[in-house]
C-alpha cells in the first residue's frame, strides 16, 4: 500500500508521539475504505494513454450498438455516471421515513469487543500507547513499531 512507503522521520522510542483519538478514527476509517477497493495497483492501460485513445473503443464495432436506439445525450451520460456516494445523497434518506438503505444497516453488536494482535492476529491483551493498535507480546510490539505504528501517517 502506498501509505506504507511514506517513511516518517525516525523517532526515539522513549518519546514516541501519541496519536489523538481523531487521528486514530481517521486511520480506522481509511483502513476500512481500503477494504472496499477494487484494485490496489494502477490500471495497466493508464501508462499507455495515447495508444489507448487511438484504438477504437471496442463497443463501437459491436453490432448490437447499431441496432439499438441512441439514448439521449449528455443528460443521460451524466446520470449514468454517478458514484455511490452521490446517488446515496440524492436519495435524501436522512429526511425520509424508513425502512430504507440507511435504516436497514445492522445495529452495533451487544457482544463485547474482541481484540487481536495487529501483527500476528492472535488474541491480544495489550494496547500500543502511541497508536492504540493491539499487540500480544514484546516481539510483535517491536515489529509493530518498526512497521506500522506511526508510519501510517494520516
Amino acid at each position: 500500500m502506498a501509505e506504507k512507503k511514506i517513511a516518517v522521520r525516525s523517532q526515539d522510542p522513549s518519546q514516541r508521539r501519541v496519536l489523538d483519538s481523531a487521528t486514530r478514527q481517521r486511520r480506522l476509517t481509511r483502513q476500512l475504505e481500503a477494504l472496499e477497493k477494487d484494485n490496489f495497483q494502477d490500471d495497466p492501460h493508464a501508462s499507455l494513454p495515447q495508444l489507448v485513445k487511438r484504438l477504437p473503443q471496442f463497443d463501437e464495432n459491436n453490432e448490437s450498438g447499431k441496432r439499438r436506439k441512441k439514448t439521449r445525450g449528455d443528460h443521460f451520460k451524466q446520470r449514468f455516471r454517478k458514484n455511490f456516494q452521490a446517488l446515496l445523497e440524492e436519495e435524501e434518506l436522512s429526511v425520509s421515513e424508513g425502512p430504507n438503505y440507511l435504516t436497514a444497516c445492522a445495529e452495533p453488536s451487544t457482544l463485547p469487543q474482541r481484540h487481536f494482535c495487529a501483527v500476528c492476529g492472535f488474541p491480544s491483551n495489550y494496547t500500543c500507547v502511541s497508536c492504540g493498535a493491539r499487540y500480544c507480546c514484546v516481539r510483535c510490539l517491536g515489529t509493530h513499531h518498526e512497521t506500522r505504528c506511526l508510519k501510517w501517517t494520516v
Binding site: 490500471d43 436497514a104 445495529e107
Partner: protein, 417 residues
C-alpha cells in the same frame, strides 16, 4: 465458490410460439449466473459480471468470460459495474450485457423476450429509473420483472416447503450480507437488515494480512480469492482454534501450506497435502508457498464478528435474531425453523453449523431452530427465478414495454424493490 460476485439477476423469457426463457443471475460475487431457456433447452452459464485488464495483454479490455483468454491472470485489474453492491457504472454493465445478449453468447431476440433481473434491497430510485431505461429503451425487451434476489430464494424455498408460513433468507455475497424475512411470499421490509461484510471485504482483508505478514499480494485479487476459497473455513470454536494455531509443528492442525500458481507449470494454486507438509517451511521445490494459519478461520470470522476489524455491526446470527424480534410475535417461531442460507459465503465449510449453533444459543429455548443450506447456495435465487418464469402467473407480474411507454417510470410501483 465462484470468485467475488456482483448482485442483480436476470431471467428472460420469450413469449409467443417459440416460448423460451432467458436467465441471467449476477449474484453478488463479480460473477453472473446466466442461462437461456428455450422450449427445448436450458443452460446455465456463470460469467464474471465485470471487465478485466491484464498487464501482459495490454491493448485489450476483456469482458465477462473473455477472462478465459487471459493465460496469466496475475495482477489482474478489475473494472466493476457495482460499488457497495449498487449498480453505478452503466458503461461497464452495458458492455457485459452487450457481450452476453449478443452474438458471442445468447443472441437474444429482445422484441420477443422478457427479462427477470434482480436488484439489491432498497435500490436507489435513480438506479431503478436507469434500469427501466436501459431495459426498455436501449435493449427494448418485451417485458421485465425487477425483483430482489432474496424474493426469488424465498419463492424457491416455499415451493419446496409449501406447508411453511415464513422463512428468513440470509444472502451473503460479494458486497454485503442481507437478512430478509418473508411471510407467505410477502417481503417483511421492517425486518430487512444489511451487514456491510461480503466476499470482497474478506478477500481484501486476506490480501492485506498476507501482504503484511509474508508476501506482497495486494495486486493479486484473483489469486488470493482462490486461496480464500481453497483454505478458509468457519470455526466452530474460535478461541480453541486460536490455541491450536499457536502450537508448533505437527500438533498445529490448522496450518496449511498453499502452493501459489505460476501460470505456466502450475495453473491453479492448491494446498499441500498434510503428509507432504514440511513444518520448517523450507521446501526444496521451487514452488512459491503461502503459509496460512489463523488467517484460515479469522477471515470468515468477520461474518460473525464484523467488529473484529472495526465495523461496528452485528454478525449474522445476532442480526438474524434481531430481525426476527422485529416481526410479529406469532410469526417468530416460524422464522426460527426456516432459516435459509444463500450466496457464495454460505459455501465456507462450517458456515451452516456455526449459524445454527449461535442462533440456537440466542433463540428462546422452546422454539425449534432449523438452518437450511441448499445444495447450491449460489444458484438458489436463480432457481427461484426460473420457477417464477415458468409460473402461469408470470405474465401478470411483469411490466411490458407498452406499459412503460404509456406510463413511464410510474410503472416501478409494480416492482417491489
Amino acid at each position: 465458490m465462484v470468485l467475488t460476485r456482483l448482485r442483480s439477476d436476470i431471467a428472460t423469457r420469450k413469449s409467443g410460439k417459440s416460448f423460451s426463457l432467458y436467465i441471467v443471475n449476477n449474484i453478488h460475487t463479480n460473477t453472473s449466473l446466466v442461462s437461456y431457456l428455450t422450449s427445448d433447452s436450458c443452460f446455465l452459464s456463470v460469467i464474471p459480471n465485470c471487465q478485466f485488464r491484464s498487464k501482459t495483454l495490454r491493448l485489450k479490455t476483456f469482458t465477462a468470460n473473455q477472462l478465459d483468454e487471459i493465460k496469466d491472470p496475475s495482477g489482474l485489474f478489475y473494472i466493476l459495474p457495482f460499488q457497495k453492491g449498487y449498480l453505478v457504472n452503466w458503461d461497464v454493465q452495458r458492455k457485459v450485457w452487450d457481450h452476453l445478449f449478443g452474438k458471442e453468447m445468447f443472441k437474444v431476440d429482445f422484441a420477443d423476450t422478457s427479462v427477470v433481473i434482480t436488484e439489491p434491497y432498497f435500490n436507489f430510485m435513480s438506479i431503478q429509473e436507469s434500469m427501466n431505461e436501459i431495459l426498455f429503451e436501449e435493449y427494448q425487451f418485451q417485458a421485465a420483472l425487477r425483483i430482489n434476489a432474496g424474493s426469488l430464494s424465498a419463492h424457491r424455498y416455499f415451493q419446496e416447503n409449501n406447508s411453511e408460513l415464513c422463512c428468513i433468507v440470509v444472502d451473503s455475497g460479494f458486497s454485503f450480507t442481507h437478512i430478509a424475512p418473508y411471510c407467505r411470499g410477502r417481503k417483511m421490509k421492517d425486518g430487512i437488515c444489511r451487514i456491510n461484510v461480503g466476499g470482497k471485504l474478506l478477500t481484501n482483508h486476506l490480501k492485506e494480512i498476507i501482504s503484511y505478514r509474508q508476501l506482497h499480494v495486494m495486486d493479486e485479487t484473483h489469486v488470493i480469492n482462490q486461496v480464500k476459497e481453497d483454505v478458509c473455513y468457519v470455526s466452530q470454536d474460535f478461541y480453541n482454534d486460536m490455541e491450536i494455531a499457536q502450537l508448533k509443528g505437527e500438533e498445529n492442525m490448522v496450518m496449511r501450506d498453499y502452493v501459489l500458481p505460476d501460470f505456466s507449470s502450475i495453473k491453479k494454486g492448491f494446498c499441500k497435502p498434510r503428509e507432504e507438509m514440511n513444518f520448517t517451511g523450507k521446501y526444496k521445490t521451487g514452488e512459491q508457498i503461502l503459509r496460512l494459519n489463523n488467517e484460515r478461520f479469522a477471515v470468515p470470522e468477520m461474518l460473525f464478528h464484523p467488529s473484529d476489524i472495526g465495523i461496528q455491526e452485528m454478525g449474522i446470527p445476532e442480526a438474524l435474531v434481531n430481525s426476527i424480534n422485529k416481526m410479529p410475535e406469532e410469526m417468530q417461531p416460524h422464522f426460527y425453523k426456516n432459516i435459509v442460507l444463500t450466496g457464495g459465503n454460505a459455501l465456507f465449510p462450517g458456515f451452516r453449523d456455526r449459524v445454527y449453533k449461535e442462533v440456537r444459543a440466542l433463540a428462546p429455548a422452546e422454539f425449534q431452530v432449523s438452518v437450511v443450506l441448499p445444495q447450491n447456495p449460489i444458484c438458489y435465487a436463480w432457481e427461484g427465478g426460473k420457477l417464477l418464469a415458468e409460473n402461469p402467473d408470470f405474465e401478470e407480474m411483469v411490466v411490458t414495454r407498452e406499459d412503460y411507454e404509456e406510463n413511464g417510470h410510474c410503472i416501478y410501483e409494480k416492482f417491489d424493490i
